[in-house]
Every structure is written in C-alpha cells, then in structure tokens.
C-alpha cells in the first residue's frame, strides 16, 4: 500500500509519539503498542530517508517501544496482596507517565507563546536624562582635554556592561547583520592584499559576536582548502601566521 506521510519537525520522541497518538485518536491510557511501534519506526525511517536529523533520542525511544512490546507478550503475573488481587505493573506505565508529564508542559507552552506575543506588543520609552548642571556656564569649556572625552567614554562602557547585567534592564535586542562566509573570505583576502602576512589572532580581535568568530574561522578553513592562503606555525606555541599564496 502506497501512502505518503508529511514529515514534520518534531521536538523529540515524546513529541512524535504524541502526534501519533492524536492522529490515531488513541486512548493514552491504553496505547496499542504494536501499532504505535510500527508507525513510530516508519516515521524514523522516513526521516532518515529525507536526511532529517534523527538524533539518538529517537532511537532510544524506538528501543524502548520494542522492549515494551515484547514485555506485553509475556503472560501477566497476578498475585494477591493483603487479600486483594493485584495485577503486575503494566509495561506501558512508565512511558505513559512520562508522556503525560511532557504533555502538561507542552500545553503550558501554548500559554507562554500567547504571553510572549503580548510582550512584543507593548512599548517602553527611554529613561529621561536627569542633569543638574552648574550655573557657571562660561567656564564650562575651560581646560578641556581629549582625556576627558576618553574618560567619559570609558565610564560609558563600564555603565553599559553593568546595565546589561542588571536583571531589571529592558531586554533590548540588537539585530546584527548576519555575516556570511563569503563576506569573511573577501574581508580576509582584502587584509592580506594589504599586509601579506598577519597573525591568526589579529583577525579575531575586533569581533564581539560568537557567530561571527565561527564564520570567520570557517572562512579561514575554506581559504586554506582552496589554497589561497598558507597558515604557518614555526614552533610549538609560536604565534600562528597567515600568508597569502601567490
């Protein structure tokens, strides 16, 4: 029987299992483990075919399902405790407990999503600047030096980093331009056209963004691969030098 399945991105094995349970309108307390295991394995197979990332967690769950399935085939132990007939623990019990726990948070996540949207719809204003200035206006510019400017700037830097650590400070996102490897390739080659030989470190000193560091490094590797640059280290622990290949 040929049938197509739309493969979605799942957050994990629990997410996938829930999808299957909902799709099949299964009673979570009485999961037909044979069917579900088969469908689960089929999904993983499809995901692999599509080159989607099937992480180890998905495979561990597959093993768990198979284990439960085999346990279900064993005859149930019935024993008597304090005069009451008690059945042994259902092999599905642990899985159901985990699924329900997960579902609880998945449900609450929807609520979080709504609230997050709300926050994105409100605006704050910048703090007013409160200055109590000297009245001696004429002498304001006397004896000003470039150092005053630099000192003021250094204080600004310090205040800013303090502020960022302040838990009450408004979350302010600064969207950076995404840097591409191509951009970085050109950047590095431009520098090398000027200088011929630079230190490995110098390429990274002005970069603040983690992603940009990674991209720069990848660009470096790419340039080595296509033999545009040469990377030299004379001795162990020496500075690494980068050179243009002519």
């Amino acid at each position: 029987m040929a049938y197509t399945i739309k493969i979605e991105a799942f957050e994990g094995p629990f997410d996938l299992l829930f999808h299957l349970i909902e799709k099949n309108e299964i009673d979570i307390y009485d999961i037909p483990i044979n069917d579900i295991t088969e469908q689960y394995l089929h999904y993983i197979y499809e995901m692999e075919k599509l080159d989607l990332d099937v992480t180890s967690e998905f495979l561990v769950m597959a093993a768990t399902l198979i284990e439960i399935k085999s346990k279900m085939l064993l005859p149930k132990d019935v024993f008597v405790e304090e005069g009451i007939e008690v059945e042994d623990i259902d092999p599905r019990d642990e899985l159901v407990r985990k699924l329900l726990e997960y579902k609880k948070y998945k449900a609450v996540t929807e609520e979080f999503k709504k609230r997050e949207g709300l926050y994105n719809r409100i605006y704050f204003k910048a703090k007013e600047e409160i200055i109590f200035e000297s009245h001696d206006h004429d002498k304001i510019l006397d004896n000003l030096e470039i150092n005053d400017l630099i000192n003021a700037f250094n204080k600004l830097l310090k205040d800013t980093s303090k502020k960022i650590q302040d838990p009450y400070y408004n979350i302010r996102e600064i969207e950076r331009e995404p840097v591409s490897i191509e951009d970085k390739l050109v950047d590095i080659l431009n520098i090398l056209n000027h200088k011929k030989k630079i230190t490995f470190q110098s390429i990274f000193t002005s970069i603040a963004d983690k992603l940009e560091v990674v991209v720069t490094f990848l660009a470096l590797l790419e340039l080595m691969k296509v033999k545009k640059i040469k990377v030299i280290q004379e001795k162990c622990f020496d500075g690494i030098m980068i050179e243009l290949v002519d």
Binding site: D15, E57, A107, Y168
Partner: protein, 187 residues
C-alpha cells in the same frame, strides 16, 4: 501628602525613570512608607486599566514600570521602527515552561521531561536573560541548577512566579497520572 498628590508624583517618577523602579526607591523619594506606596500603586494599576488610559503600570516582584498597552500596538508600530523580536522557538519555550514550573531544576531533569537534549535551548534562554544559573547541586558532577530571571517575569507579563497559570488547569493531568494504575488494571 494626600493620596492624589502621591499618585501624581508616582506618575511623574515612573515617566521620568522609564525603567523598572523598586518600591523602596519610590518610598525614599516620596518619604512615604513602602506599604502605602504599594497600596497607591495597586490602585493606580486598576485606574489605568479601567480608565481607558493609553498607558499601563507593569508590576514585577517589587518593581514597577510604565508601558503602553498591547491593544495600541498597531498605531505605535506605524510611527516607530518595526520590532524585530523573533519569538522563541518551540524547543526554547518548552524548556522555559519546565524551568518556570519546576525551578530550581538541573539540565538532566529538564531533558528527562522533554526526552531530548536541551543544551541549545538553555543557552538561548540564558542569552535572552530569561533564565539564570542559581548555583550547583551538591552531588556527583555538581550539576548547575537553573531558575527564571526577573526579565522572564516582565516578558511574560507576570507579577511574580506565583502568578504563573495554574498548571493543574491544563487538563488536570497530574490527577489523571495518579489514576493510571487504576485504569490499567481494567485493561
């Protein structure tokens, strides 16, 4: 100072300050005791909410801040640079929900609930200042304990952690879990 005057000064300070300000600081500036300030602010929050005002007072723990209302979003958006706030991913939100309700919690405990690794979600949440490390557990590996931050409260419009929606309302799942064994005996 009568109540109307306190309200008036509080409005002025919240406007000038624009960032979250603590009741303690407000109390100091006005020379009015903390309890009184809190009461007046609660009254003001209600007045702003019911008086069809353009602004609202947000409360987070013992801090207050002035902001616009979500319902006026579309008008303001026309005048200012579009916000580029991308929302959190499903993975990050799920992780955040678990941390919010189960804090203090370790990474392994989170991963047990979600069934997947959560390193990336956790580091995103830390970068956005929504969660923070709150110490280490004194057991093998000394795992880091996570909890939510004050920014978290603000972002999700909560006055405090107690303000989180009651998780038992979400389909009464905890109770059902307790019943599992009972139901299973029928099957």
């Amino acid at each position: 100072m009568d109540k109307d005057e306190i309200k008036s000064v509080l409005e002025a300070i919240l406007f000038v300050w624009s960032e979250p300000i603590s009741v303690k600081e407000l109390s100091k500036a006005l020379a009015v005791d903390v309890k009184n300030i809190n009461n007046v602010l609660e009254e003001m929050i209600n007045e702003y909410n019911f008086g069809k005002r353009g602004l609202q007072i947000i409360k987070m723990n013992d801090h207050y801040q002035l902001s616009t209302r979500p319902e006026h979003y579309s008008y303001i958006q026309k005048l200012v640079e579009p916000k580029q706030n991308k929302g959190l991913t499903q993975a990050a939100l799920e992780t955040l929900a678990i941390i919010a309700y189960k804090q203090p919690i370790t990474k392994i405990e989170i991963e047990e609930i979600r069934g997947v690794k959560c390193d990336k979600a956790i580091s995103t949440l830390q970068e956005k200042n929504l969660i923070e490390e709150q110490g280490r557990l004194e057991k093998i590996g000394r795992p880091i304990i996570y909890g939510t931050t004050l920014s978290f409260l603000k972002t999700f419009g909560l006055k405090s952690i107690e303000d989180l929606p009651d998780i038992s309302e979400f389909k009464l799942l905890t109770q059902e879990t307790n019943d599992i064994k009972h139901i299973f005996t029928k099957g």
